[in-house]
Assembly symmetry: C2
Homo-oligomer: 492 residues x 2
């Protein structure tokens, strides 16, 4: 299993594709660009969902559910948004199939069952939601409206990759409505902070919080906050975005409210989302040539126990200890699996759990029972040691915390080592090709320069970091004055 | 609010529609037949999901996710299933919009972006899932495969009603694969039992477990287990189904496995699902003319505390007690909300919480503080009583349990009062019109008779109860011999 994985150095892209499939996370389906998320991958996604959902509710949001379809007339109401998504829409045009008279046993679209108005499978839900909010908002008393939705969306991407870019993906989309610009802006910023907190502390992925440039903004947004992560191949990955939408959607859908002074005004909006793309970020941040490496917070099984035995008696005795350990570990909130399958040898089990990134492995053999020890192995560092049963449970709890912290620290060092300040165009190009990672450079603030740089290097401005220092300099490309650096990178 | 609700006696159907909207559960959307599930309704659905998910996992199932689209060629592979759903399919035919040259600012479907093969928006996922299982199952070691999916599905129903019948709905669909017929059959039965357990003990809805007749079976199933509930208007509602699919899908998608003896055989299958339709069952089982009545297990807020005050000082003092009570209640696992909105009067709050079915209301006024009491009111019985603060928390915990049991008991009495054994055709018709409910009658076992009865009375066979006694008799319609009674009813 693990030994068959292409190494990252050999072919990073191939390594990723193989790992996703071999670790049983996801696979391609019969539908072009759509993936099947397999149970092991879905279990990780469920852990992300649970934590994010908790964080959303803690910040006052409620879940709701809106239709998967957007009638074309609503879809086109907010022009920039429509323009941004029109080219990648799945469109429902008919509502019935019938027997194909020319092809027995086959079905065809019933030409009589054509919809009067086409329905777009939502690529994002601003249109259908703001059309709904029109009925919900009359007065300032109805605000703020703080709603989130867990849903599937469809964007007909031409080039797809498991988790990173798929025609259908799962996500959450928050859609909030506010009485003031300031409140909406702060909400957008707050939710970007929630994402950053989640990425850093739960996924162990260091991220840079920033603003998108105009050309990289969400279609229909006035400001897009984002968190940007760095993958091991030196390419950046946008892990989450939060948009201040101004009054654009309120105007497109005529959503006004009466303020405390009795005057009517358009409502201010935000939207924010993260998706199953986070699975890609997770894999590419921590994993290695042996397979998946999971931060304990996201591991479906944090510990696996493997018995090593020849006789039934040995198995019984080992199982006694294993069951006892499981009980104690579960009491401490540790998820643990006892892999007692008799269809696989210990070596195959070790390889599978390594490939699937189980943070800690406990192996117990007959000798261990005699000595009252186990073999405790760490997935991230490959260290293993004979460990006394006495004190083992506390040791495991501490180790899991240590692994969580250590993975974050490792990724942080890598990321920080891959932010390079450059001051000339030569340096810029050179860094992108030889060192990779984020290139911190002065930029003249124009879309034209941004585009030219992209054409020549494939690097885009990932973000204008929020905690940027003001520093005068000159644009690396045009030499025009600039007052802060922005982060360029090649990106997923 | 509540006072504006049409009474059940006046117009049951109107009462239901009004209640769903006024209690903020759901509303119709801009998309024909699709609903918006509002936060309060969604919070109830989340409670159902959490409990069902726990029950599925406890019985060894794992979640996964499969594509929303089914290519037409896969959709038509299992003929009966295809035939059953072909007439109500949303079909995606194009993947791009473009600017409409004849209509500035508008979009139209790009005629060049026609899909080579149409995609059906899943009405159910057997086809796409069994096509996937083909790659997952080679040997008996890969079985059983016990997978569940939480998803949205689309069935283009012509007549829709909020929660009960909508073009898009949310559900879970379990899809399992087994090495033997016996194991699959038992799985289908087990999951029907899980549904029954959930309905009775969590939703406080009494259900009858049974088998569907051939004509009421799921398209593609060899046996359909179901749970049938009775609504307050005497109409039955199918609350969940679990299908033994035989080898139909394995044959349609060529899914074979090597058994322990090294021989190849087709895999045996089940599928089972419950949907947001359960929200309709919940509402119609327990609610009354004042609004929603919620079993405590499903109430987003089990207790609401309403302060009654005139001065800020009074409010502060009341809030002190309220916060203390909340803390204690939460420690006992009770969900509680302090409704301290200053935009609404106590009367309006009372009406809203009544309409939304909060099981217990605690009102606290200045007099209560003096006397160390509160007013404790029960939603289901409308009883209210001055209650000492001392011992209040335990009292609330006990009352919540009592309400849960009492709602179930009440619904059970009603249901049992509405199962009528009839022995003649006159009695049959008479019972259906005057008394309503389930009619227990002998039937000759033929589809023809079933259809004629349906034509003449609109009653269908809801199920052949699993715990039926064998009893010889004659069919009420044809006089032919029969060995057991079946349950007829008009149904949702």
């Amino acid at each position: 299993m693990g030994k068959n994985l292409t190494s990252r150095e050999q072919d990073y892209s191939k390594w990723y594709n193989e790992l996703v499939v071999k670790a049983d996370l996801a696979e391609n389906s019969a539908v072009r660009g759509c993936m099947v998320i397999k149970p092991y991958g879905y279990a990780i996604w469920e852990k992300m969902q649970a934590e994010l959902d908790r964080m959303f509710k803690e910040t006052g949001h409620q879940n709701a559910y809106f239709p998967i379809f957007v009638p074309k007339s609503l879809f086109e109401a907010e022009e920039k948004n429509a323009e941004g998504f029109a080219k990648e829409c799945a469109v429902v045009t008919h509502y019935r199939l019938q027997n194909d008279p020319e092809n027995e046993g086959k079905l065809r679209v019933d030409p009589e069952a054509k919809l009067e108005e086409e329905l777009i499978v939502r690529p994002t839900s601003e249109a259908i939601i703001w059309n709904t909010y029109k009925g919900w908002i009359q007065s300032y008393r109805d605000l703020p409206l703080l709603i989130n939705q867990w849903a599937n969306v469809v964007r007909w991407e031409m080039r797809t990759r498991l988790f990173l870019r798929t025609a259908e993906f799962l996500w959450q989309e928050g859609h909030t409505a506010h009485a003031t610009k300031d409140e909406a802006y702060k909400e957008a910023e707050q939710m970007n902070n929630v994402y950053a907190d989640f990425a850093e502390n739960f996924m162990a992925i260091p991220v840079i919080k920033g603003l998108k440039t105009e050309s990289e903004r969400f279609a229909g947004a006035e400001e897009t906050f984002c968190i940007e992560a760095l993958m091991q191949d030196g390419k950046a990955l946008q892990a989450g975005t939060s948009h201040f939408l101004g009054q654009n959607f309120a105007k497109a859908f005529d959503v006004k409210f009466t303020n405390k002074e009795g005057k009517k005004d358009y409502v201010w909006a935000t939207s924010w989302g993260v998706s199953t793309r986070l699975m890609g970020a997770l894999i590419m941040t921590h994993s290695d040539d042996k397979g998946l490496v999971l931060p304990p917070n996201l591991a479906p099984n944090q510990v696996v126990i493997v018995p090593i035995y020849k006789t039934d008696e040995q198995f019984e005795a080992i199982s006694g200890l294993a069951n006892d350990l499981m009980k104690q570990l579960r009491q401490k909130g540790v998820s643990v699996k006892y892999d007692k399958r008799d269809t696989h040898r210990p070596g195959a089990k070790f390889a599978q759990h390594e490939l699937q990134g189980v943070p800690l492995r406990i192996a117990i053999g007959p000798k261990d029972l005699e000595n009252n020890t186990v073999e405790l192995a760490r997935r991230d560092t490959f260290t293993k040691a004979l460990t006394p049963v006495e004190g083992l449970v506390d040791k495991v709890v501490n180790l899991l915390e240590e692994i969580q912290t250590s993975l974050h620290q490792k990724a942080l060092s890598f990321r920080d080592d891959h932010i390079t300040e450059v001051n000339s165009w030569e340096e810029f190009k050179d860094t992108l090709t030889t060192k990779t990672g984020f290139v911190s450079a002065h930029w003249d603030g124009t879309i034209e320069t941004e585009e030219k740089i992209k054409e020549q290097t494939k690097a885009t401005i990932r973000c204008i970091p929020l905690e940027n220092k003001i520093e005068s300099g000159v644009c690396v490309f045009t030499g025009k004055p600039s007052n802060q650096r922005v982060l360029f990178a090649k990106a997923y």
